[in-house]
């Protein structure tokens, strides 16, 4: 268990002080992929740096397996840091060293022998799929490959925790996708707890099991990925989710309004959200069989894979006599599908 207890972080310059994190508490169970999402400036980067002591809280405590990493000597902190790997948005590889030398660096700091260093590093490079690039320099690699090297470097000392600070934010969609797959593989094969912060809801949805939403230095919402995506509570979460849906059904409220206006009194526009693992339910078919006098047309829909299963939603327009509207909605809700009237 990794815990943050009542942490406040304040930065001060000459004239004023800024509270970047305000009384934050989080419990992260071992072995999961935990996502922290928020817009830039929310305090994500500061938050993730608490876990490996790169930032010290102004007050509060950070515990890893019940051991504080705050009230310890520098030597003790360095020992703890060896249990925690970190990858960065800008990769932060040494440009003067080859891929292999970059990956062996952490072992060199530990004073391991050269044979052992190279053996272990090659093993890690095999796992991240770069065995054929060991003698290249970072400048000769693509962004995705650089991040793989960084991941190999972070894992070479067999850490318990991997911290990802916007690890995919500098990558193109394809590289992002392959890095996310790699993170899932690492989490499952090596049972390493992964904590990632990002502003990309898409990345969180793809790989995280639990999520915290950070806004202006405060945690506004926590929960499992399906809870957060199906039933977001705060405005900030809703906006993050909406922005992440590339083919968002109604980007323009004007379009929605137009359809509403043209539909007349009989028209009912609904957003159906399918709970976990039921995105394939034949809800519409059942509905039409039940109410033979209604018309259903599909306006839009989306399926989103997550680590726990598929999340889906559908936007439909129903034409039915107004008095039947409530009954129809109830009938859909009874099929354990969430309904939102647009």
């Amino acid at each position: 268990m990794i815990s943050i207890k009542n942490v406040t972080k304040t930065f001060a310059n000459n004239s004023q002080s800024f509270t970047v994190l305000n009384n934050i508490s989080l419990d992260i169970p071992e072995g999961i992929i935990y996502g922290v999402i928020g817009y830039s400036g929310a305090g994500k980067s500061t938050l993730i740096r608490l876990f490996n002591g790169l930032e010290k809280p102004s007050s509060g405590d950070v515990l890893i397996d019940d051991n504080s990493i705050v009230n310890v000597s520098n030597d003790q902190l360095r020992e703890q840091q060896k249990q925690i790997g970190m990858v960065f948005q800008q990769f932060n590889l040494l440009s003067s060293k080859t891929v292999l030398e970059n990956v062996t660096l952490p072992l060199k700091l530990n004073g391991e022998s050269k044979t052992k260093r190279n053996q272990k590093a090659l093993e890690m490079l095999e796992i991240v799929g770069l065995s054929d690039q060991v003698d290249k320099y970072p400048s000769q690699l693509s962004g995705g490959q650089k991040q793989r090297v960084a991941i190999a470097r972070a894992l070479v000392r067999d850490p318990k925790i991997l911290l990802c600070d916007e690890a995919t934010s500098a990558l193109d969609p394809e590289a992002t996708s392959s890095i996310l797959d790699l993170l899932i593989k690492i989490n499952q094969e090596f049972k390493i707890t992964i904590i990632m912060v990002t502003h990309e809801m898409e990345a969180i949805r793809r790989i995280c099991q639990q999520i915290a939403v950070l806004d202006s230095g405060e945690i506004v919402e926590t929960g499992s990925v399906s809870q957060i995506f199906e039933n977001p509570q705060s405005e900030i979460t809703k906006s993050l989710i909406t922005k992440s849906q590339v083919n968002n059904d109604f980007d323009s409220p004007e379009l929605l309004q137009e359809i509403k206006d043209n539909g007349g009194a009989d028209s009912l526009i609904l957003k159906l959200s399918f709970p976990n693992k039921s995105a394939d339910k034949p809800v519409i078919t059942e509905l039409i069989r039940e109410y033979t006098d209604i018309e259903v047309s599909v306006l839009g829909g989306q399926l989103q894979p997550t680590i726990e299963g598929v999340l889906g939603h559908l936007i439909i327009q129903i034409k039915a006599p107004q008095k039947e509207h409530n009954e129809v909605i109830k009938s859909i809700t009874d099929k354990s599908v969430q309904v939102e009237v647009l």
């Binding site: 703890q80 060896k82 990769f91 440009s95």
Partner: protein
């Protein structure tokens, strides 16, 4: 062609033995100065870099003192510095004439210059890479040795090349005041004795040394630069 121009091409004036001795003197003097300057400048530059954001009062004081000395000695014209240092030179070198006597002034003039270039080279190192080292639990000394030094090596070498070329210039100036070498040859045997050809030849040899130095510096920089 008039006599003035012709006076530069009286090859019989050139004593090859003297030329060789002077060239060796200049090269030796430059070589040893560069080594001392590289070490001292690196140390001073490292102090300036490491104490940049220090909060502890004694580190702030150390930075203040180093920065002040660097600025002062970088600003004194070299000729004035030699004269100023004569008593000091006599004390530690036992003489004020010859190549040895030039070393203190050369080092004191060039080390602060290189220290600033070293500091600049370190400032150019990506902060993210230093943060990555910190996240790996690297000690300060490990970060310097395994990260800061290799990452800034291209800039350290090109900076040393620039410094070495300045030092060659300084040795010539020191030569005029009695430190030997090609500067001395150009002034004493050339100008004072009215042998313009000797001055010209000394100039050409200095240029060749500078070019070789620049070429070597560029070559090494390119070899270690993988950015």
């Amino acid at each position: 062609m008039n006599a003035g121009i012709n006076s530069y091409f009286q090859w019989s004036q050139v004593d090859l033995f003297n030329l060789r001795v002077s060239t060796v003197e200049t090269i030796t003097l430059t070589f040893f100065t560069v080594i001392v300057v590289a070490i001292l400048g690196f140390a001073l530059g490292l102090i300036l870099f490491q104490t940049k954001n220090s909060q502890k009062w004694y580190l702030k004081l150390l930075r203040g003192i180093v920065a002040f000395l660097v600025n002062v000695f970088r600003s004194i014209p070299f000729v004035v510095l030699i004269v100023l240092l004569i008593p000091f030179t006599k004390n530690i070198m036992g003489t004020i004439i010859g190549p040895k006597a030039a070393i203190p002034a050369l080092v004191i003039a060039a080390a602060p210059f290189y220290a600033r270039l070293v500091e600049l080279a370190f400032n150019e190192v990506d902060l993210g890479v230093l943060e990555a080292a910190k996240s790996l639990g690297a000690k300060n000394s490990q970060t310097i040795w395994h990260v800061l030094l290799p990452e800034s090596l291209p800039a350290l070498i090109s900076g040393l090349t620039v410094t070495a070329i300045s030092i060659i210039g300084y040795t010539a100036m020191a030569g005029v005041i009695g430190a030997g070498g090609l500067g001395n040859l150009a002034y004493q045997d050339g100008f004072e004795a009215g042998q313009n050809t000797v001055t010209l030849v000394a100039t050409v040899v200095i240029l060749i040394i500078v070019f070789i130095c620049q070429y070597l510096g560029d070559w090494f920089t390119k070899r270690v630069d993988h950015r």
